[in-house]
């Protein structure tokens, strides 16, 4: 079972601050992490590989710094890691991003065995994306990749099981879930609640971070691919090919910290009424 996981490196929003003047994220000094839903996707892929065999590829589109997220993915146990990076992608919205990722997924660069697969056919049985990124929260890139590739998709998945050429997955809603059978190849978007991602191992961290040299015959590196490698015309991606544009960002007004009271229904009602009166709301 060959699986590709698409990941995004994001600022750790639990530590993020917003510049009150410009309304934009202050990225300086903020730690970057693998987007939590995507990290669950890496774990899911490695766990499936452990049961059914095959190979796990991890792909990320982003600036050169995103390489460190891919190193972490390798250190968790991914077999191959690719960084899709090119100035031409700068300013891409979800549409332009998903188009580039779709082209990368079907490109020769990512082919597992160059002979077996016919041209324009993807070599992965399963594409996993995280539900959404914590810095944008759009939840669009995964589903759009499936559309660009003409593949069936299921979003909001928390369980994956393989049955021959099919997957049986659990898709969650707010108050219910569905078990769905889907034919591979397909795309799933997964939730971070689905698993507890494993830690990186020390040996794989040192393996991927070690500088390649002739003596070490090192083969494990983050492979960088550009727009040329995926056969996408530059005018179809980047800021100018993005149908959505961010016009303005703003912060919500500051709220004072909440307080938790533990009491029964009667006391709670009294407490709420008192508080509302105190603030002259009622």
């Amino acid at each position: 079972m060959n699986i590709i996981v698409c990941i995004k490196q994001v600022p750790d929003t639990t530590e993020v601050k917003i510049d009150p003047k410009t309304g934009t994220l202050i990225r300086e000094g903020i730690p970057v992490i693998i987007n939590p839903d995507d990290k669950a996707g890496i774990e899911a892929a490695i766990a499936l590989k452990e049961i059914y065999g095959g190979q796990v590829t991890v792909l990320s589109m982003g600036p050169p710094q995103a390489e460190s997220a891919l190193k972490e993915a390798y250190a968790m146990g991914a077999d191959k890691v690719f960084l899709l990076t090119d100035r031409a992608f700068a300013g891409s919205d979800t549409y332009a991003t998903s188009l580039a990722l779709a082209y990368a997924i079907k490109s020769d660069k990512l082919k597992i065995s160059k002979n077996e697969i016919k041209e324009s056919q993807i070599c992965f049985d399963l594409i996993i994306c995280g539900r959404q990124a914590i810095d944008g929260d759009t939840a669009q890139v995964g589903p759009q990749i499936a559309e660009h590739l003409g593949l069936p998709q299921i979003s909001y998945v928390t369980e994956i099981e393989k049955q021959d050429k099919y997957l049986i997955v659990k898709k969650v809603f707010e108050d219910e879930y569905q078990k769905i059978r889907i034919k591979m190849p397909c795309l799933l978007t997964v939730l971070k609640e689905m698993n507890q991602p494993r830690y990186m191992t020390i040996s794989r961290i040192f393996d991927i971070c070690q500088k390649p040299n002739i003596e070490s015959h090192k083969i494990n590196t983050v492979e960088t691919i550009s727009i040329k490698d995926i056969g996408l015309e530059p005018e179809r991606t980047g800021l100018n090919a993005s149908p959505t544009k961010v016009k303005k960002t703003m912060t919500k007004g500051a709220k004072s910290a909440g307080k938790v009271h533990e009491c029964d229904a009667r006391e709670s009602a009294k407490l709420i009424v008192d508080k509302l009166k105190e603030k002259f709301i009622i």
């Binding site: 460190s68 190193k71 972490e72 250190a75 830690y199 990186m200 191992t201 020390i202 040996s203 961290i205 040192f206 393996d207 971070c209 070690q210």
Partner: protein, 379 residues
Amino acid sequence: MHFELSEAHKISQRMFRDFALNEIKPLAAIIDEEERFPTENLPKLARYGFLGIPFPKDIGGQGADNLCYAIAVEELSKVCAATGVIVSAHTSLCASPIYDFGTTKQKEKYLIPLVQGDKLGAFGLTEPNAGTDAAAQQTLAEKKEDHYLLNGSKIFITNAGPADIYVVMAMTDKTVGTRGISAFIVEKGMPGFTIGKAEKKLGIRGSATCELIFENVKLPIENLLGQEGKGFSIAMKTLDGGRIGIASQALGIAQGAMDETIKYTKERRQFGKSISSFQNTQFQLADMQTKIDAARWLVYHAAWLKDQKKPFSKEAAQAKLFSSETAMEITTKAVQYFGGYGYTREYPVERMMRDAKITEIYEGTSEVQRMVIAASILK
């Protein structure tokens, strides 16, 4: 000169922090309270490579280095000093001497399972009458035809009990002093080898500290580690490396207490404001963190020297001396900042203060470190 951790070290440090916080911290107060060895942590430590960090991959190690190992012990000890010393004693005191002095056969049989984390290691040098004066060994290993006959006992042995493999010092020739000491590999379960009483300790109460008792243990000749009569120098070299581990443990304890103190002084309000807003607090916190950072550079430098295969004996002693005394000072101040709360087991700082004390004592007391440093600068 280059003062930045490499990318591999930075990523490892992040992993160690996550791991320590999620897997080790929840048990820290419990194993202290119950005075029990955290057996359930061992498979996790093994799985992610904590038990074979500075050893090459071809023998099952992680292919990392001593700096990475120091960072690992530091990060573990920030939340649980007992877990820190389990890893340190295993790595520095058991796996390292077998790696440095073992035969190919010994490495295959003992080192591979150790560094892969399938087996746990320990080291036996101290005896009731041979502490700082390690040369006064009374444990005897008499050479017979095809074996050594081991008799005697060791005390205060870290990891004793849970450990499977023990590097043990014994006299093979009583007439020639330190040149009569030899090192051996002893396995758990060998007839005549038993674990004696477990010590009830002030701190690191989750770490196992027991007696080793040898009664006519028949040790095969091939269990001699290094040459006969070279045991004392093997032990001293081993302890040089061990000091980096304990210095890292002390550093971790100090930073762990500091982190708790920073959080607490920001939250705790007296006289209408947080106690961190008082200038006396600020000045003290500044001094505390400065000492910890100084300790960190001493520790990382000693580890780096070892990685560069340069002499590191003096630097390891300095790192251990300064880090352990810093740990004692910082944890004592931390308890003071927490006031009455700090004296209770509701907060972790009293445990950290109890844990810190041992770092001034084991693997060479602070006085021994001063002897090593003085000998090096006066020679």
